[in-house]
Point group: D3
Chain length 138, copies 6
């Protein structure tokens, strides 16, 4: 049977929810406070999940030091203390909902992790609202 390992990290961003293909009124109706023009922000909590067989030499599914370093290099440095809408290419034309941020993080990390390992992303936007992608791995 397989084992799942999880690593938690954090990054703090400004964002607003806005779909450029909708009118101002449609954006306000759909996103409410989250659409306010000058941005608000969150302490995002990220939990990366990796699933695979335990290596008999190391006793690891994946070396957590390496996983932590990957997340630091490719996710924290990229997003921490940034404005997701203004400062990142990924969300120039993509609405930075928690769902979309989780998928973007998945797509950044997926090619950097051994293909024999499954990958999943849990992202807390607030303590009360969080998402997982892909749902099939959770």
């Amino acid at each position: 049977m397989k084992t799942a390992v999880y690593r938690k990290s954090w990054f703090n961003c400004a964002h607003r929810l806005h779909n450029q293909n909708l009118s101002e009124q449609e954006n306000q109706d759909l996103f409410g406070l989250c659409n306010l023009p000058n941005y608000h922000g969150h302490n995002y909590q990220l939990i990366v999940k990796v699933v695979g067989y335990v290596d008999p030499i190391s006793g690891y599914v994946i070396d957590m030091k390496i996983l932590a370093q990957l997340v630091k290099e490719h996710i924290e440095k990229k997003f921490d203390h940034k404005n997701l809408n203004l400062d990142t290419l990924e969300f120039k034309n993509l609405n930075p909902t928690a769902e979309n941020i989780a998928r973007v993080i998945y797509e950044i990390l997926r090619p950097k992790i051994d293909a024999r390992l499954e990958l999943g992303v849990r992202l807390y936007e607030t303590e009360r609202n969080f998402v997982e992608y892909p749902a099939e791995l959770f």
Copy 2:
């Protein structure tokens, strides 16, 4: 692939574990302290899970404001500050274990959420004891 979204809320209730089809002695043997006659209580923490595809217009699986409102209207208002055994129809003849409460919440919310979305309920009775229904979605 699908995305899962989660929404956390709370409600505080009195309850006792008791099966009307068992004798007093059988109830005491089975439920111990939880069977004490004058009720005890819990701060229940509820996490509702909804699984589906992300809508490309909104970037949402489901609008969290609507999900939060559904939970407030149909769960929090119904159960918060109530005695589950005495004040609710659902538990008049159903023992209010965490397992049963989770299933009741699922059955209340299921018809109110788009049938294309999957629904699950995680319920913390205490920090140390919690349940999920249906287990297949978690």
Copy 3:
């Protein structure tokens, strides 16, 4: 300088807020949902604080095993899985607000702890509402 030590524990109770010297209407106006007649309940989280000088032999302010035992014997066993209004002498005629429960716990424990040590009680009624007694020690 002195050191403070803290010990966390839990107990789960039913209660309602009600002052027998007020009319039904006054009770409802003052306590709202908390006054509902059939009780509701909470997972109370208790943190006992003891302040004193560190004993050079043990390196302890107070032996945590003994403090934990005192709390278990005199607080948890007394209140856990009880109805505060119906099952305890302390709240027969005293409204079981968090403030009053904290003071009652303080008064139960105070004579059982060495008089050279200061004692304080922090009580969480919910994650969002908590109290401390005496405020001067916190």
Copy 4:
């Protein structure tokens, strides 16, 4: 002796640290990532502390429903989903560090709470960094 009561709430903001009386270079040197021009953000967690004597009628230091309503009306509505630097008068000319935000919240709430009660503010900017004002009350 007095009792302290605490009420927890949340609000989510964008901000950047910036002192208009310093040069761009000085701002960068002093505030680092927190000075990035397009803002970042936080889930601020606010804990309001009120200290006083317990009222013998209600068993309350202050009615938590009223305290919660005050915080909702005057703090959450004002700051939640806003850009502190751009959307609020308070931080037009005041650097929105956690220290300054805590003092601003104190000054907003102080005149709205009975002068016989002491008031304090604990503010978490992140899970790892938090502040209290005035320190003398904690």
Copy 5:
């Protein structure tokens, strides 16, 4: 549909990561700080998951009092306040990574729980690093 129930507990251990089949240098390269010779330690948080159908008499998947007792007897008493490498047979020749500890706990508990119930183990080594076994049940 099935229901999952979870029970949380704790145990505190010393350990070091070390594979006896590797050289000292290989161990240092692979495990870094975790290989330091005099051991370090953790507060392990254990969450046991049991999945099955709710019994209509008790309203339980499994009696939590019995599950808690099993964990206390066979896991906490065995591992708490021990040195995993020196004091336990299980890790005499098995590297005590979180992955391996989770599997060992699973194998100890599996024969003690009704075969109609599925069993899973979640183990937090730190707040930031945790594992689940078997991944297929989570």
Copy 6:
């Protein structure tokens, strides 16, 4: 009035409670499981508190980046993944109770922080047991 700022960090250690001036039997009687010879361990959570006036230029009591760096350099690097009894000079002849560890951390940090600022240390040995030094600052 002054403001207090807090910074949270972690380090993981092995230790055992043992007073070299007591007999083996006295050590066992006094410290129980904590005296077991092969060590156990903890994830220590450290919260450093600094109290002072807010600087009008920076809006800071102390630059959190500098405080975090001090803790990393002088506490985390020194204690993390170590055996407190065997690997550190501080606890060669001092029993590593939470009370003593907190005081040692205070004494390491005190000379490194501006004398106009007050310093305090909160140390969690487990989620249920924690200490503060000096108690007068909390």
